[in-house]
Subunit: 116 residues, 2 copies
């Protein structure tokens, strides 16, 4: 079962849950952005510049985390999110490729995502 922070391990990842997580435009955008950046990239939730409130942001990142798509680790005063690329690739080979190939990132998304 998932760990204390709600991360499922590779075997526990469920495709339907992942599809549901990705079917929201904002969450899709987060994953597509992360997938287009170097593997070890870590970002705070805020750094994506999502046009929603803090609590809504927490909600979306929880869904991504519980689907197994991102890992969130405590970094002192904040919390960084990183794509679980290897895990996803092992469990759902090719999925991330489809995500990046079909991403329609809004203008400036790369800038926002690259900002610290």
């Amino acid at each position: 079962m998932p760990d204390a922070e709600g991360h499922p391990n590779v075997e526990e990842m469920d495709f339907q849950t992942v599809l549901k997580a990705l079917s929201d435009p904002l969450r899709y955008q987060v994953i597509a952005t992360l997938a287009g950046l170097p593997d070890s990239t870590e970002r705070t939730c805020t750094s994506f510049g999502l046009p929603v409130s803090k609590s809504t942001r927490t909600h979306h990142f929880r869904i991504l985390r519980e689907a197994g798509l991102v890992r969130q680790v405590d970094r002192g005063n904040s919390r960084s999110a990183q794509l679980r690329r290897a895990d996803i690739e092992r469990r759902f080979p090719g999925l991330l490729g489809l995500v990046t190939d079909n991403a329609q990132l809004p203008e400036g998304a790369e800038l926002l995502a690259t900002r610290d």
Copy 2:
């Protein structure tokens, strides 16, 4: 734009729309079932034995059709649905493989699906 029956062509298929279509358990089950059968298989909506009413069934098949996942053609007195396998494979390579690999079809699903 889509034809009169609402079928998008290959270029018009949208990944987000497809993900949304697949994120419902019943619709996923339909696609997974079709994907596991020979390519030219045609089925009536009823033959899947979905545990919902007629109108709900129509609703789900409309979403699958408008996402571009199935093609529905008039067959006289009824209407048959078939998977747009080649189109999907061309537009989203590998997606159908993921769907079949992660399908958890209920017991007897193959029988229901194979029945005419």
